[in-house]
Symmetry: C2
Subunit: 207 residues, 2 copies
């Protein structure tokens, strides 16, 4: 299936709607108005209707959207119908926090299938133990299992080299949680989570 050409910001909002629908579904709600779904996602109803138009025709005037049908369509478009395998580089505090997200990630369609670090061995996460493999084995694992997504949570100075070897092994999309910018080839997508930048953005809005 060719993917519809949806702008990146709209894809983000689709994820928010998707999550809102999952909550409604968990609460046995079967239909939802565009106003209510927009509110749950923190956007304006006009924005929501514009975003959902990328998916084709949904909803009946006066009746709202079918929670199940819209949720399925979004799952399909966002590519999370099957659990998407993800590898994690870096098993420090942040990496351990990510490993602890297990159930949260699974709900959204992701699974961390292997964790790599310079320090390999068993790592305590919450109330269970997780095996951390030597980071040198990362590329081979990615190749063998055809993994396409990685989370990079190694210390900043090590991030670029990890990204280079992982991308060479087949990674197409990276969530960069290291405190360093990453240079990657054009076919690779990087989302960066930079908490200091988020704080700086907030500080502007403080009176």
């Amino acid at each position: 299936m060719a993917k519809p050409d949806i702008p990146r910001k709209a894809v983000y909002r689709l994820s928010l709607y998707h999550r809102g629908l999952q909550r409604l579904s968990a609460n046995q709600v079967s239909t939802v108005s565009s106003a209510a779904l927009a509110k749950a996602a923190g956007v304006k109803p006009t924005q929501l209707r514009k975003d959902l138009a990328y998916l084709g025709h949904f909803g009946t005037r006066g009746l709202g959207y079918s929670v199940e049908a819209l949720s399925e369509k979004l799952t399909d478009v966002l590519g999370t119908a099957r659990l998407q395998p993800v590898v994690l580089a870096g098993a420090g505090n942040l990496g351990a926090a990510l490993l602890g997200y297990g159930a949260g990630f699974a709900r959204e369609g992701f699974e961390i299938v292997a964790a790599f670090d310079l320090e390999s061995g068993m790592k305590r996460v919450g109330d269970h133990e997780v095996e951390v493999l030597p980071i040198s084995q990362g590329p081979e694992f990615i190749r063998q299992h055809g993994i396409k997504m990685a989370i990079i949570a190694v210390p900043g100075p090590a991030a670029q080299e990890v990204a280079n070897t992982f991308v060479a092994a087949g990674i197409q999309a990276t969530l960069n949680c290291a405190q360093a910018p990453l240079q990657v080839p054009e076919h690779v997508v990087v989302n960066t989570v930079d908490l200091a930048i988020e704080l700086e953005n907030l500080s502007y809005f403080i009176r």
Copy 2:
């Protein structure tokens, strides 16, 4: 000083320029072209010039921007001239990772001045120990020290209650790292860091 009215997305990009300038400064570079600075921040030069226009007149045609002058102006506008005190709620793996960012945050103008958790006591972070206070003491601390910013990294189900008590005590801006949406009064700004949403966004771009 009245703050210029800058759109939220532009404030984000100003943070990126700010960081790029800090790197240039650390490398003894004294002037930079708009093309080079735009590239470092991953935006188009036209976007950069538009964003910097919010700050007034900068740069000389053919000579580029003074790294020092532009950096100072951005520091001023972004409100990070002095270290901004931040409180942290939640000292699990993610909280510990945030506490470990000490130097990284300080470089951007922030300091976690206190950490709170249900489980108080000394917590090992990297190679030193940090005192974690009982979360019930959070509001009093916020009031006494006039803290305006908080990072919430508690488990999802606990996040809203923590936000309520912290906001009632004076918090105006919150970085929400809990896996739950937060409802706050209109005068409070929330930035949400949701790693599952970032992954979902990435997965759309995988072929």
